[in-house]
Amino acid sequence: MSPSRSDVMKIRGVFIEDTFAEAFTMRVARIIITARSARWVRAAALKLTGFATSVIGCKVEAGIERELPAKETPDGRPGVSVLMMTMGKDDLGKRLIERIGQTVLTCPTTACYDGLPEAPDRVGVGSALRFFGDGFQISKVIAGQRFWRIPVMEGEFLVQEKFGMLKGVGGGNFLILARSADAALEAAEAAADSMSARPGVILPFPGGVVRSGSKVGARRIKSMIASTNDAFCPTLRAVTASALPEGVNSVLEIVINGVDTNTIASAMKTGIDAACRDGVVAISAGNYGGKLGPHHFYLRKIMSGASG
């Protein structure tokens, strides 16, 4: 718990801890999926971003960035943009090929485009998936970009040959410390809703919310790379070095990944502001002492309007 809790920063009565969220540099790709209708866009996007909450167990973190109206997509159909993030370049290429190949290629009426055309760093995706066409695939160059038409039973799957990659930031976060589980959930829902559909940001966890924040390593099993964040578990208050103020009975975490630090800081400000409501005691953040991640998002700086 921060010793400076007495240096009061409160938003609608909710105490803002004098601490920071510690985040990491990741590689990010933006995938644009289009389909004949919003139904099939969603179907593909949900599968593409499924089981992609944390690189710890999923190898990739992904989420729907926003829905795109037909006038904003390359082929004039309804679409969605998805951000996919990994820790390394090579990993990102593999995950894109696996996931687009298994979830978008397979979904009726979809097409898949690069959403970072200006990124100089590029990874082959369509160039690998084309082999599914077994020699019947057709290459087309449109406006200097190569696309692959892969024949499928429904018709054709269109996929861009290469996708751009940028350095992004993963692990921006804040913790909602509430008097009850209901209050924590209500505040977390409000925060997640306020941050959804912001360009450049995804919330990779279910509904944007994490109930099982983790610490690095484990007390018992040394080979584990992460285990429960006992300092923030209300049920362990009496048996561990708790970081929870009195009156806190439930904690939920919001994890934010984005294309850059400013985007994440801006989203955090919006989310924290939305989370400051009745039943919430304090807002805190997860960090590792500042030794692991190069990006530090100081809650008070963010909420006072300065850059995190």
């Binding site: 390359p74 082929d75 009426t109 057709i138 449109i142 406006a143 018709g155 054709e156 269109l158």
Partner: protein, 253 residues
Amino acid sequence: MSILAKLKGPLSQRVDLSEVLAGSWATLSARELSGRRVYLERDGGARLGDLFELAGSPEGRIRFVGQLDQADRLGAVLTEGEVIVEGNVGREAGLAQAGGRLDINGDAGPRAGAAPPGFKRGMTGGELIVRGSAGAEAGGGMRRGLLVILRAAGDRTGLGMIAGTIVVFGAVGADAGLWSKRGSIVAFGQVSPPPTYFYACTFQPTYLRLLLTRLRSSYGLPVQPRHLNGQYRRYSGDMAELGKGEILAWTSK
């Protein structure tokens, strides 16, 4: 600003402009371009400046104005920049074009974007837009790139195509895509595929939506919802060759 090339007077004989925009030209001044060689059918070699008045500053764009029906091979072997022609052009416009944009606001004579005589490869890149009709053998031997014809296309369009895309908004003449290996001929108007093409299915090619959406936004072409949302009959051919080419014929059914 761009360079304006205005024809000084009506052409009394055919002129070959194949060397005017070949190689690097986009950074050349009006004066430098004036010195490029042209060949008159009867009088032989001359300079571009003898026929055209050139003005403006180089910005990778040149606009030709005048009655150019007798001007042949304009934009031949084009590799860069944007070339706009206000009116009709003669034969073999964009011959073996390799890059850049050639936008003809009128009709093009025979063999636009085709391969030079004696060569197999026609266009190998770039975009050639003919806002009127095109003569026979447009896109002949095309290897890569895009050729769009807003009105009718002559006989043997895409003759011996190796790859690339030809889009024809109007009717397409006989024997389109004959002897093609790969490549796509998209026809919104009447088209009769050669007997060596075989019907495959009627479907909506997504890539066509992508292409047409871009043509509408980049060139202001009259792409209609029926083109974007329509069904296309796919014919595969030429089966006398590799058979990996296609004719996509728009259908109202």
